[in-house]
């Protein structure tokens, strides 16, 4: 029996379409009178102006990095449990490094902090999952405490950061709507794809997930490779955290931002966990729907708009998960 090569793209597309259909169904059921207008806004708002398209792409870049982190973690058999903590650690490090006034350095600091936060739970060996959850909370409170003394504070948003440390913000490319964050995320996707699918290191990381004992018997240093994958996942999540808060965060109080990002990041990661390209595509779809949801907020209210977007995103992600589960069980 041979697996069909095009099965994943077809399943991914079907899952996205199924999710969209579910969102549209919810929209029709809850607001039948405004459904047509709502649908137009949901799908068309992101491309209705260059500014909105740019904002959607910036958010997509963050989601791409989170999805790639989850992909790396899944490749090594991990669960990506500590990603929120790594995201926050990366954000905090990037914001603290804003004083350097170098956006590249800020992002590197974010990636390094996320990487360290990702590797930390591995020190606890058998209790890595519990440690990852505890470290999420540790990152959350430590970051809030550390950021309290910064010159740019909640309320003034990115404008204040731009005024205090303008060099810390990733610039728009050549004055266009495409921000530097987008090529950074795409470059990471290409690097991750190459690393996991084409190098001996990636082969070793995948072998650990596919049969840990067989990898060990082949002389692969299993613990080291799993720790490296956890660090890579953390690094990507930390980079995402840095980008998110240096770009256009609505607040520097991390406690407010995390649930909002997680709402979109979870389905994006689930949809993109199977392949780096899926991570890129999922991030674009999720960011596109998130942009449409902001328009829906005004039309049908924030709660109902979230319900519509949630149905679209989560049902699509769950459909893909179910497909992968069935395929594995066959």
């Amino acid at each position: 029996m041979k697996r069909k090569k095009g099965a994943l793209p077809i399943a991914w597309t079907a899952a996205v379409l199924l999710g969209l259909a579910a969102g549209v169904a919810v929209l029709f059921l809850t607001h039948a009178g405004q459904a047509a207008e709502g649908l137009g806004q949901l799908l068309g708002y992101a491309v209705s102006s260059v500014g909105r398209l740019g904002a959607a792409l910036r958010f997509a870049a963050v989601l791409m990095l989170l999805g790639l982190g989850c992909y790396v973690s899944a490749s090594a058999g991990g669960t990506a449990l500590g990603v929120p903590g790594q995201f926050i650690a990366g954000a905090a490090a990037a914001l603290l490094g804003a004083a350097l006034n170098q956006w590249g350095l800020c992002l590197l600091l974010g990636a390094a902090a996320g990487c360290a936060w990702g590797m930390l739970p591995r020190l606890f060996r058998g209790h890595a999952a519990g440690a990852a959850v505890l470290l999420d909370w540790a990152a959350y409170f430590t970051a809030d405490a550390l950021l309290a003394g910064l010159p740019f504070q909640p309320g003034d948003k990115a404008a204040r950061l731009a005024a205090v440390h303008p060099g810390a913000m990733p610039p728009a490319l050549g004055g266009s709507f495409v921000n530097a964050a987008v090529p950074v995320a795409l470059a990471c996707a290409a690097a991750v794809w190459f690393l996991i699918r084409s190098t001996t290191l990636g082969y070793e990381i995948r072998a650990c997930a596919l049969n840990r004992q067989a990898a060990w018997n082949a002389g692969v240093r299993v613990n080291q490779r799993e720790t490296l994958a956890a660090g890579l996942c953390g690094g990507l999540a930390g980079l995402a955290g840095g980008l998110f808060f240096l770009l256009d965060a609505s607040t520097y109080a991390l406690s407010g931002a995390l649930p909002s990002v997680a709402f979109y990041a979870v389905p994006s990661a689930l949809l993109g966990m199977a392949h780096p390209l899926a991570a890129v595509g999922s991030a674009l779809v999720v960011a596109w729907l998130r942009s449409g949801q902001t328009a829906l907020n005004k039309l049908i209210g924030q709660q109902d708009a979230r319900l519509v977007a949630g149905a679209a995103l989560y049902l699509g992600a769950l459909a893909l998960l179910a497909w992968r589960g069935m395929r594995r069980g066959k």
């Binding site: 029996m1 041979k2 697996r3 084409s198 190098t199 001996t200 290191l201 082969y203 995948r206 072998a207 596919l210 049969n211 004992q213 067989a214 990898a215 060990w216 018997n217 082949a218 002389g219 594995r328 066959k330």
Partner: protein, 506 residues
């Protein structure tokens, strides 16, 4: 009232894209010992799991329990059925008594009933206060059986329990089953050899390629006929072993000691032996005897507390696993520990040489070279299918062939093979044995780690028996019976000859 306790007709079951059972039928009478015989991959374990209610069939024309039509796997079906697998029947961290509670209810009289049953069936030696993880495989199986008796199961399904028993244990266990059958228990036992079935069972159902071939009364047949029914041929599948004088020492192991976890008793202690060119040495023992730990230590997978390993005159005691492979050791782990089930088969085939310069360039895998190598290997060793298909979609026999092909194709100085034919049918086992004997003829050294005494007898030029992490005997296969090997494996009695050798060494 029906004379049958269990009846199933035309059972079908598909897994991993293959039909494991296509047309299996079985009728087990009340109070009989019924054998389920078949070659590796015939579908015995799957049928047993379906009978135990652990998985549901994809199709089944008739399913009756005590003459009543009952849905397989339902509560009514499972009531009174005791499942005794070869291993993994117990939770490692629980004691025997604690394991009794799994699937049963809290009962104050449990210990008392267990003690009564132990006295009645002569199972006083079964350690019920010890965590299952510290028991031998045979003890675990006995505890599982005792658990079924405590919970008053009237049908006992024993799956492939033979492979963990020595000749002496088989005799004692056979007597116990006869007693249980006389008391009215229905016993279905799978696996084993035709001669075991002849000695143990009243009737025997033979499976081949997922189909029931025939049910026969063992009083009216013989082992050769059963063998023929199993394989569908009268071929003997005896490996051709030539007389070869061993050459120089290839592997020299001296005083190997592997520390136990948390500084407890060492896993292996004072192990010394040699393997010469053109020689097959078998390291055998019961589960927990230490022979597989020894193989892992030789491959550099276990830290050593003491000892020295020399390969072709070069000390490799501290070399990494990869360096040992580069130095000329080929490793064939047991099937479950050797392949990457969800990755393309080509990934599994290069697992022990992906670091080779032919397969990678500066850390980048040469995908074309990997595919071409895998395709050539599959063609040479007649492994059907596509190298891009996941390994788990291959039948088990082909997976074993793939593992053997990966290990023997480069004809390195030393092959270490762990349970190379476990689960193999007659033909596959013969093919793998021929590959191993081919290495011997090419003057390579081979170390086989197995608990299959017949395999030991078929391959070995010298036999080392391990028990409790130590070598207790060195035997000449021409002068040793299977019974003697079994006795040394279970009792751990140190053979006089080996004892003297150890003293001289020291």
């Amino acid at each position: 009232m029906s004379e049958y306790s269990l009846e199933m007709a035309q059972v079908r079951k598909r897994a991993d894209g293959q039909w494991i059972l296509e047309d299996a039928s079985l009728q087990v009478r009340k109070g009989e010992i019924h054998g389920l015989l078949g070659d590796g991959g015939a579908g015995k374990t799957m049928l047993m799991q379906i009978l135990a209610g652990l998985c549901r069939p994809d199709g089944c024309v008739t399913a009756k329990r005590n003459g009543q039509i009952t849905s397989p796997g339902s509560g009514a079906w499972r009531k009174g059925i005791g499942w005794i697998p070869a291993d993994r029947g117990l939770v490692d961290g629980y004691t025997g008594y604690e394991n009794f509670l799994l699937g049963g209810r809290m009962d104050k009289t449990l210990r008392q009933r267990a003690a009564e049953l132990q006295r009645r069936y002569g199972l006083m030696d079964v350690p019920l206060d010890v965590p299952a993880g510290r028991m031998s495989a045979y003890e675990r199986m006995q505890v599982t059986l005792l658990k079924c008796l405590v919970w008053q199961c009237d049908v006992l399904l024993l799956d492939d329990v033979w492979r963990m028993m020595t000749c002496q244990q088989k005799e004692a266990f056979s007597a116990l089953l006869q007693t249980l059958a006389r008391e009215g228990k229905t016993i279905l036992i799978s696996g084993g050899e035709p001669r075991d079935m002849m000695a143990w069972t009243d009737r025997c159902t033979v499976l081949r390629d997922g189909k029931t071939v025939k049910t026969v009364s063992t009083a009216l047949t013989d082992a050769a006929s059963l063998e023929e029914l199993m394989t569908g041929t009268d071929e003997a599948w005896t490996p051709d072993k030539l007389e070869i004088a061993p050459g120089s020492v290839v592997l020299e192991v001296r005083d190997l000691r592997v520390p136990g976890p948390d500084g407890r008793k060492p896993l292996i202690n004072g192990v010394s032996f040699e393997v010469r060119a053109g020689e097959i040495v078998c390291l055998t023992g019961n589960d927990g005897g230490g022979q597989e730990i020894c193989a892992e230590a030789l491959m550099g997978l276990r830290p050593l507390a003491r000892g020295r390993i020399r390969l072709g005159g070069k000390i490799i005691t501290r070399a990494s696993t990869r360096d040992r492979m580069r130095s000329g050791i080929s490793y064939m782990p047991a099937e479950e520990n050797g392949l990457l089930p969800d990755a393309p088969l080509s990934d599994s085939l290069v697992l022990h040489r992906y670091w080779d310069l032919a397969m990678q360039d500066s850390g980048v895998i040469r995908k074309r070279a990997v595919r071409s190598y895998a395709a050539d290997l599959m063609e040479d060793y007649e492994i059907p299918g596509d190298s891009d298909s996941p390994a788990r979609f291959l039948p088990r026999q082909d997976r074993l062939r793939a593992l053997a092909a990966r290990a023997v194709e480069r004809e390195r100085e030393l092959l270490i093979a762990v349970r190379p034919t476990e689960g193999a049918d007659r033909q596959t086992a013969w093919e793998i044995h021929q590959d191993i004997l081919g290495l011997r003829e090419s003057r390579k050294a081979v170390l086989v780690i197995t608990r299959d005494v017949e395999e030991v007898k078929a391959l070995a030029d010298r036999i080392f028996v391990m028990n409790g992490g130590e070598i207790v005997a060195e035997l000449d296969p021409a002068l040793t019976t299977e019974e003697e090997i079994g006795l040394l494996m279970t009792t751990g009695l140190r053979q006089e000859k080996y004892g003297r050798m150890t003293e001289e060494d020291e």
